[in-house]
Each structure stands twice: as structure tokens, then as C-alpha cells.
Amino acid sequence: MSDLAVAVPGHAGRHRPWLLLLAGTWRQGRTKIGLAIVLVLVGTALVGPFFAPYAPDEPVVVDEVFAFPFDPPSDAAKLGTDDIGRDVLSRFLWGGRSVLALSALATLLGVAIGLPVGLFAAYSRGLLDDVLMRGMDVILAFPQLVLALVAVATVGPQIWLLVLAVGITTAPRVARVVRGAAVEVVERDFVRAAESLGEPRRRILAGEILPNITSPLVVEATLRFTFSIAVIAALSFLGFGLQPPAADWGLMINENRQGLEVQPWGVVLPIAAIGLLTIGTSLVGDGLSRASIGIERGSGER
């Protein structure tokens, strides 16, 4: 079987698009800047808790007295205290994990649903294609945040629900892009060849079509990750994500908003972190998409 497969055109370059994409992406200045930003923030989220002077829900105590809420920076609390007298710096260092983990999970779920739907629609064409994609269009009629909020209103603020809602609303967007890219691949000779060899449909989808749409898929997944971060952070900012006393960047912003006049750090740090994170991932995504356009032009596939 594998001997035959090698002889089929299209297989020879199966692993090359990947390397080409990564090399082309790395060559862009904006990718490096974006990657640096993302690495610093992911590093902060992962390692930060080990350097936090306080536990995330521990009150700051000075001379056996609880610190005031919204205390300005001092020796005991380097970046001041939050709305109920906890250490802002410690809560910031603890608060990145949830945003990152939840948005990564939601994006993965979105790809896990959207990828097979898009592939299947492109390969089957006809009525099934129409029904699948029109069904996906309906979900696109809602902004992601709105549909997530409808789910939250029904079930209540649950962590799994946020991942599920953001994942399900990500899926149609992924499916659209996958279908768009796969429709062209389906027409190619090596797919016909595999069909005539009697390869099962699942094998053709995963082994023949998928490797040829990796560039648009990776670009889209990166873009979706940026949006997932935005939606997940917005949900926890609105108070529907992690519940107090959890340390979470989105939640922190809302908790410390009233203190902006006297103690801005509890808002400024998480705002800057979320903002930079989305800018970083979108710079990487832009680098990927520029590189993938170059690859497609270079290999004369259009």
C-alpha cells in the first residue's frame, strides 16, 4: 500500500509545505516580535506563580494588620493591593494560566469539530455540503460572545461551558476555511488516484486532503486562538468565567475597576497582558498567513 502511495503525484511533497511554511514565517520580522511577546506572557503565566510573594487569595498583612483595599505600592505589596487588600503582583502572576488554558482548549475543540465538518463537506459536495455549511452559517449569525452568553444565562457560569461555547462557535469559522481550501484539493489527480485504488474515505480525507491544506488550517487556527483569548477574557471580565476568589486576569480587571483613581496597577497589569497577548498571537498569525501566500504562489498551485 505504501509503495503505491509514493508513486501517486502529490505525495512527494507531503511534508515539505510544513517546513516551507515555518521557514517563511520565521523570516518575517513581525513573527519574531509576536513570538517574543507570546513567549514572555506564556512564561509569566506558567512560571509566575513560583515567584509570587503571596498566595493568590492571601490578604497582605503589615505589622499584624490587614492592608487596606487599593493601597498604593509599598514594601509589603510591590504593586499595591486589590479591592479587598490582596497583593496585586501575586494575583497577576497567578492569573494568566486560566485565560491561556481555556482559550487553547476552546480553539482545539473548535478545530476538532470544524476540521472534519469542513473536510467532509468539501469531499461529499452536493446536498450534504450545502446542508452542513448552511447549518454552520446559522451559528455565524451570532457574535461568539453573544452565543456564549446565552449558554451562560441558561446553565450558569461554568468553566466547561465557556470552553464548549467558544469551541462550538469557533467550529463553523474553521469549517468554512477548511472547506474552501479542500474543495480545490478534492479535484486533483492524486485524490482520484487514491479513490480508484479503493482507499476508504476516512483515509483519503486524513491522508490525501488534510496534508495539502495545512497552511490555511494553521493560519486559521492561530487567528481563532487570538479570538478565543478575546472572548474568554471578555467572559471572565463580565464575571461569567472563573469565580472569586480565583486569580484571573479578566476577573482582576473588573474587581479593581473602582479603584482606578487611586491604585491603577490591578487594572493596568492584566489589561496590558491580555492586550499584548492578542497582539502577539495576531502578529504570529499574520506572519504565518503572509508566508503561506508566498508558498502557494511559489509552488504555482493557483
Partner: protein, 323 residues
């Protein structure tokens, strides 16, 4: 199907598709609010609810009846303009959200009036000075701004212009009920700016791409060869043609404004449908949640419909292909 030809036929077919999309959207909303795991009555009243109060609320929400009947009742009401009764306010939903719709529409309108011309300008000039310093700077700025979540932009404005650094604009909107939002220009500035920043980058980027293509086309070359000034070529010949392909993106982004106002209105405490939606989600006011999410989906469908029709009307090539 002979009648459904030409532009009227296209509009009718698009209209039918829009109605179909909205109907399925209503099914999605209903399924999300009714069929999700969990007992709506219990989640509204909390764990300590007595069995009697649970039974009462189930009765009031109609949860005892078959699901299909609940749906037909709801959608039948919607079609006659009756969205049910708000659980939190004990008033008809239409009364609760009526004034809020006015406030949000006004906010979205000024955001659109500011951002569309601004985006067209940025896109056109970027394409005209392609790969120059202006183009590169705008490319990075629009990319970065497009990535930022609206609440990050909104809170950043509050920090810089309303509280910590400068005190130029109010951080929250304190508006007396019954007075139009246009009486509060200062309060409108920051929410509007936030929405403008949320949508302008997308439209500007697509406008640039569309203009780059058009500036390389034969008829623009022709206009140049006629000896027209570059400014005239750009604004008289290229821009009007470059806008058509952006209608879709403008529509999607205006529809996105309808979602964006949810967070932006909450940040600034602006009394529109967005803040109302968050309140309703928090208090589990399901009739209001259903009405507002259907409204937001309807805005999307209507704007897409208008964009499709507008694209057909302004593109001579598409217009003739329909006949």
C-alpha cells in the same frame, strides 16, 4: 421560477434565505436556552429554593409543557411582537428593551458614521502609497488594533482619558431615563471611540486589498493616460469601484458592532441593549436574553442582505449577469 429573475428575483431569493436563517437562529436560541442540561427554574432560584417556589416558577416559565409547544408559543409571540414578560422587571420584554434599542442604535450609528469614511480613507491612501512608510505603519497599527478585545480598548481609554492619567471624559455614562442619548455628547465619546477602534482596522485592511487590485487595473491606467491628476484618478475612479467589494466586510463588521456593544456598553455603563443583555444574563432573565440574542442575529441577517443587494446594485458586471 420564471418570475424570480433579475434584480427583484435576486432580492426575493436573498430575502427568503434571510428569513430561513433567522428561523433556524431562533431554533438555536431556543435550544440553547431550553435544551441545555440543567433545570432552568433551579438555576434561576438557586440551590436553596423550596419545592413550591420551583413549581411556581416552572409554571410561570411554562417549563411543564412539551418542548415543541413552548417553542411555538414563543415564536408565535415573537411574530406578533410579544416577547413575553421579563422575569426581573415583571414588565413586557418590549417595554424593558424598547428604549435600550434606541440608545444602542444611536451609538452604533455614530460609530459607523465615523469609522466607515475613516477606514475608506486609510485603505485608499495605504493602497496609493503601497509599501511606503504610511502603508507599513498602518499595516502594523491596524493589525494590532484588530487583535485587541473591545474591553481592553475601552478600559485603556478609561485609564488614560477618564481616571488615572487625564480626566477629560466621564468614565461611566450617567443618563437620566427618558432623555435621548444625544443630550450627552461627552458621555458618548469614549464608547464611540472604542467601537470605532474595534471595526475600523478590518474595513481599512479589506479596502486596501481591494484598492491595490483596482489601482493596477486597465481602466485606472486609462484614466492616468488621459492625463487626469493622480488625486482625481484615486478618488473619482478607483475609490468608488474599490468600495463595492468591501460592502460585505462593512456589513459583517457593523453586525459585529451589535455584538461589540455588549462589552463596550457594560464597560461604560451605557444604557443600551448590550448592558441590558449582560444584566439579563446575570439575573437569568431568559425572555430578555432570548429577545436580545434574536435581535442581534436579526441585525446580522438584515445587514448581510443589504450588503448583498448593495454589491449587486453597484457592480455593473454582477448586475448584468443576473438578467
Amino acid at each position: 421560477m420564471r418570475i424570480l429573475r433579475g434584480i427583484p428575483g435576486f432580492v426575493v431569493r436573498r430575502l427568503l434565505l434571510g428569513v430561513l436563517t433567522l428561523w433556524v437562529a431562533s431554533l438555536v436560541i431556543f435550544a440553547a436556552t431550553q435544551a441545555l442540561p440543567g433545570d432552568a427554574a433551579r438555576s434561576i432560584l438557586g440551590r436553596n429554593a423550596t419545592p413550591e417556589s420551583l413549581a411556581d416558577l416552572r409554571q410561570q416559565l411554562g417549563l411543564n409543557r412539551p418542548v415543541v409547544e413552548q417553542y411555538t408559543d414563543w415564536i408565535g409571540g415573537v411574530l406578533t411582537g410579544d416577547f413575553g414578560t421579563s422575569l426581573a422587571a415583571a414588565l413586557p420584554v418590549t417595554e424593558v428593551i424598547g428604549e435600550r434599542i434606541e440608545y444602542s442604535a444611536f451609538l452604533m450609528l455614530i460609530a459607523a458614521i465615523v469609522s466607515i469614511p475613516l477606514a475608506v480613507l486609510i485603505g485608499a491612501v495605504s493602497a496609493r502609497r503601497r509599501d511606503g512608510p504610511f502603508d507599513h505603519t498602518m499595516s502594523i497599527i491596524t493589525l494590532a488594533l484588530a487583535a485587541l478585545p473591545e474591553f481592553v480598548v475601552g478600559i485603556a481609554f478609561v485609564v488614560v482619558l477618564a481616571t488615572t492619567v487625564f480626566h477629560v471624559f466621564p468614565a461611566v455614562t450617567l443618563i437620566d431615563p427618558g432623555v435621548g442619548p444625544w443630550h450627552y455628547p461627552k458621555e458618548l465619546v469614549l464608547p464611540t471611540l472604542t467601537l470605532v477602534i474595534a471595526v475600523t482596522p478590518y474595513i481599512a485592511r479589506i479596502m486596501r486589498a481591494s484598492m491595490v487590485e483596482i489601482l493596477e487595473s486597465d481602466y485606472v491606467e486609462m484614466a492616468r493616460l488621459k492625463g487626469l491628476s493622480e488625486r482625481l484618478v484615486l478618488w473619482r475612479h478607483a475609490v468608488p469601484n474599490g468600495i463595492a467589494p468591501t460592502f460585505q466586510v462593512i456589513a459583517i463588521n457593523l453586525a459585529f458592532l451589535a455584538g461589540g456593544i455588549v462589552v463596550v456598553e457594560y464597560v461604560f455603563n451605557y444604557p443600551g441593549i448590550g448592558a441590558g443583555f449582560v444584566d439579563a444574563v446575570r439575573s437569568r432573565d431568559m425572555p430578555v436574553v432570548q429577545a436580545l440574542s434574536l435581535l442581534i442575529a436579526a441585525i446580522y441577517v438584515v445587514l448581510n442582505l443589504l450588503a448583498d443587494v448593495a454589491t449587486i446594485l453597484v457592480s455593473p458586471r454582477l448586475r448584468t449577469s443576473l438578467k
